[in-house]
């Protein structure tokens, strides 16, 4: 039975940058595209690193800015200054 965590993002410039960062930093993450949305699934754990997103956007990006691009998610949340993690306990 699948224990995937999941995040769905708006298909905007920021959403695209966050997506690329997630795919680069989380081996085994799977991307699916829908109209105006990007869904990413991964078994049990997924991390969004602020530094990875900042590199791709060309400016300092705060993990809490993910709120502007988020559509949906599945899993528990752990937030700190440098990253946002989705996980199942």
């Amino acid at each position: 039975m699948s224990r995937d965590v999941s995040i769905t993002l708006q298909n905007t410039q920021e959403g695209a940058a966050i997506t690329e960062a997630i795919l680069a930093d989380n081996e085994g993450a799977v991307r699916r595209d829908f109209p105006a949305m990007i869904k990413i699934d991964r078994a049990s754990r997924l991390v969004i690193k602020a530094s990875s997103v900042s590199d791709r956007l060309g400016r300092q990006w705060d993990p809490q800015e993910v709120h502007l691009s988020l559509i949906s998610l599945s899993g528990s949340i752990d937030e700190d200054d440098d990253s946002l993690t989705l996980f199942w306990r």
């Binding site: 809490q64 709120h67 559509i71 599945s74 528990s76």
Partner: protein
Amino acid sequence: MNAKKLTLKQKYIQSTRGLDWEYSYHSKEEIFPYAEYEGIKIHDWDAWEDPFKLTMDSYWRFQAEKERKLYAVIDSVAQNSGQLGVTDARYFNAVKLFIQGVTPLEYQAHRHFAHLARHLPGAGLRVAAQMQSIDELRHAQTQIHTISHYNKFFDGMHDFAHMHDRLWYLSVPKSFFDDATSAGPFEFMTAISFAFEYVLTNLLFVPFMSGAAFNGDLATVTFGFSAQSDESRHMTLGLEAVRFMLEQDEANVPIVQRWLDKWFWRGYRLLSLVGMMMDYMLPKKIMSWAEAWEMYYEEAGGALFADLARYGIREPKYAGVAKAEKDHLTHQVWTVFYNYTHAAALHTWDIDDQHMDWLSEKYPNSFDRIYRPRYLAWRKQAAEGKRFYNNGLPQLCQVCQIPMAFTEPGDPSTVSFRVSEYAGDKFHTCSDGCKDIFDYEPEKYVQAWLPVHQIFQGNCGGATIPEVLDWYHLKEGVDNLDYAGSPEQAMWNNWMVGRRGSDNLDTKTAAK
């Protein structure tokens, strides 16, 4: 010397916990009168860890940014006559169902989360509830703003709040939320934050928002995404709140389980209207209700309930019935709306061959055998100028308040009748799920304001249908009846001649 900068987590604790205090003038029970009566035991409120560490300053900043972006799109759609880019005017019946049925629930949620922001004993939960209350008000407002543009052209939207409180099919969402808001804080969190906003949320969101995307309604897509970004905080609150209750005391487990069984079922029944919209009202279809249920409940639910099993929680009691009803649910609900379109503030219509073939492909076990013959017979009656409208009023379920059109799992020719005796009266329900809910708290459901019974009591403007429709503020011959022959159809066809050429006209003749 430089002061050390606080980490996100430290800043959050200072800004939320640091502002709470121990009460000395009154007892905790007096200050939080709703905290214990449901039987839920919380031993340590400080054990609550907020999943998102969002302080008010960040909240305002992000929400303001979302609003700026959203209103820019709303303005753009209005300026560019976005309604002309929609696939077909029939699509707007989905929008009508939304503004009449869903938007008032956002407002109810706003009110009740404000109540919880006062009455939840834990400071962290109060903060989350406060933010959610503002989120939900924002959702109601943005939906009303967006749809106000469509209201300039299309019918049925003009008095949505008035209609929500009166029309027969709108008592379905209304009673759903009334049930939740008249429950205590812990049941409400389980019902709405968890069951509705976490377990079932995609079955509301995907049909409406993807439906909008597929059918050229950019404005709805945009308010949908804007609301969904808040929804991520809400769903996380729901999941963590349920976990918190389950972890605080073993005695909470059977209470939470009963609420899960109840609210899974109530949410599922409510969503049958959305399933109908998805299979019948979208000119360009995303997927079938059956496919959506498989993807968003049967598959996604697996991971969730595997996670909760450690606490002794099992899957909702009647999940198997929902699965068994998959091939029939939406066709039975469409049948209800087709029967009663003369009393509804939206249109239905006869199904064309292309649509029937799609339904046949998506529902190979049921459509051609049961529903295609019905729709062909109706089409024939309409072509003869005798479009069918049911001239009686439907029997409603005492709990979900939907007309009792659902059939026995395994026997789609037999309506599922259930009845309970209580205090010398009979109460009819549509299913084991609704009957269980009635039987557990009959004193609640005997108070249900059932639209059909209220009409017979003379509380709805008069004894005749025209008087009742007037009381509904429903414009006869405009808001109701078949799409064929409606003012909207005439308007749309006129626009399409100018926009795309006459080969896109819907040339069905009026059938009254």
